[in-house]
Chain length 427, copies 2
Amino acid sequence: MYWREEMSQKFVFTCVDCGKKYSVNRQVMYLCPVCSSQNTGEQPPSGALKTVYDYPEIAKRSKRFKALRNNAYIDILPISDPANLPPLRIGNTPLYRFTKIDGKRLPYVFFIKDDSQNPTFSYKDRASALVSAYAKESGIDTIVAASTGNAGSSIAGICASQGQHAIVLVPEKAPLAKLSQIMMYGAKILPVKGTYDQAFDLSIALSDKHGWYNRNTGYNPFTIEGKKTAAFELYDQMQGEEIHRIFVSVGDGVIISGIYKGFEDLIELGFLEKMPVIVAVQAENSDNLVRNMETDTFAAKASHTIADSISVDVPRNFNMARKFLLTYGGEWISVSDDEIMEAASVMARNTGIFAEPAAAAAYAGLLKYDKEDKLPASTNNVVMSTGSGLKDLKALRGSIEVPEAIEPILQAVEEAVGSKKAVSSRQ
Amino acid sequence: MYWREEMSQKFVFTCVDCGKKYSVNRQVMYLCPVCSSQNTGEQPPSGALKTVYDYPEIAKRSKRFKALRNNAYIDILPISDPANLPPLRIGNTPLYRFTKIDGKRLPYVFFIKDDSQNPTFSYKDRASALVSAYAKESGIDTIVAASTGNAGSSIAGICASQGQHAIVLVPEKAPLAKLSQIMMYGAKILPVKGTYDQAFDLSIALSDKHGWYNRNTGYNPFTIEGKKTAAFELYDQMQGEEIHRIFVSVGDGVIISGIYKGFEDLIELGFLEKMPVIVAVQAENSDNLVRNMETDTFAAKASHTIADSISVDVPRNFNMARKFLLTYGGEWISVSDDEIMEAASVMARNTGIFAEPAAAAAYAGLLKYDKEDKLPASTNNVVMSTGSGLKDLKALRGSIEVPEAIEPILQAVEEAVGSKKAVSSRQ
């Protein structure tokens, strides 16, 4: 624990497992020390902390949602000055409305929130931004994380924009393509002879020893606070219209917890009456949340899915995500890799949004609900698209086939274009 | 030429070479028929058309710039209804302000306009959006283009969002990674046994014969009209502050022409007094604009640069770009591939913006000017960053080196992190 000079008593932490309250005045804190003391790595970690604010006081100060929004939601974030957030445009991603799929009009409406439109091209920037700002306000100039993927490139990019140092630990097997973005941002990359879990634990040992700030997912409570901003934006963008269902891809369970937390904040503040139904979507072969939702003891299964960013053996934020889902009547399903790749394709060709497989999984969830007629007429359904398709072009290799090359003459081109029905002009 | 039913006489075309005016009421038009009749492909094509509006009339209607902006600049675009633009967030990209590089305070200020924050992650969406809207207003539902890169994926994505058909012709050698994004958007891809020029010519034959709309760069005049919107945004985002220099990477010369055209429109409308100095930046080994700026006869040199998106033998929009540069006191330089890769790295680690090599070339131009002390104190300089670094990870292979893996023990990690000076906490 590192003590800081200035910190307003803006929030307290409550342990998601034992419920104990922690006043965090002047200290950096990650997990409930009591509950986390027994964590092994084989079971989902205990002791995740939820950040709780003085809601009645905030509601008094920001009577209208606009007041909250116009001040970058700072009243309901664990930092004190919006100037400490990164100078990049983070969040405020577009929400698009759709009423058709492949030409077929739907009885319901669905929306896609496109979080590929973030500086490092994924949802993770929401978490990194807040973690970075908190480090700045705490006088810490180095942030450590274990990640091979979007979280790693996100904290690297955000730190670059803030003049902070980023140290990213990765398992040595991580492929170069995944590390390129991290390294371009100037982060110190440390390949570790071992597993992701070993890199994770070392990153904690390193940040603890040197007083650096740790951004690990499912460990730093402010990753959830950063990720909740998408809920605020959704509420804002829907302009008072009810959201009935939100499809969210789940790996570690931090994004889904963040979205729940955001809506919970809005309910606590009196802006929202009812929690939307949130649907956790996992890959069939990485379904360690979904499969363990209704069991007493967690049983991990080795994950292998094409949806790399949600391929997780032991979800780091299992307990919190599960609790949110159970408390608020959430739903959970899994989708196959084929369904995910098909969804990525249907989504791109219908909407112009090119999502990485892990993001397309949420859309696959929507398609599955559609197929099973589980989306009532006139409901509003949201798909969270969490990362750019450019993040994982390799995943497409199996599912894309380039047609054979044709002779460079008009007739051959016309034949290849095919029947005029398929591609026709209305002229 | 295909005739359409409804078209307001909102604009005329003028040929950039002979100056002839064309009234385009009821017709789709690409090049000046007189000047383009002698085009061979070995020389830059003649007959590019500039879109000219009734400026005094528009200035009367939109006395203030805000009025223009608040109606999606429709008064000064060749379409009649903003509802025909794609439903995606196109343009309105962030402009970031910087005063330091690698910790050194600069006497001048520079800005980066980050156009990776577009739906398909490049500047090209600005052109595709307008072309798509124009096709819609013309009752044409199929758009054809020849492209292996950003223009191809852009038109594919934009058409997907608009329910239009896209046909993209590519030379057969184009690598799968470059085609993945195009194909995911559901575009019809046609690999042609031949060169890019053959694909280009075939795409024109195809669109002409079937009445489809052609988006080819340096051919369809509205690619320039679409690309000019970045100038409007820059003017808006600078809030009255003068822009002294703008660095723009140049391949075919369409983006730079678009930016010139946007500022020219603003001057014609009386909003702006003086054209900023625009600096055309090319790769040393693809410098067919720069090298031919001051010669009487154009001499092409085969291009081979790591900055793929600006690798061009015969710039398709040479004549117009050259004329703009000469008319408005523009400047032109070339940068080496090493300088480009170094610039991409300096930019990413200083700003958090990860740009593809072709985009980083503009930043390399800024760095070169800085080195040569050519940026006066207190001036405002803009770098146009035209595409995401994720677009071309392959280019990084040579310049990125992953450190050796270390033992999974804290001491080894600490040694790898290096001296405490390099990465230190202020605690």
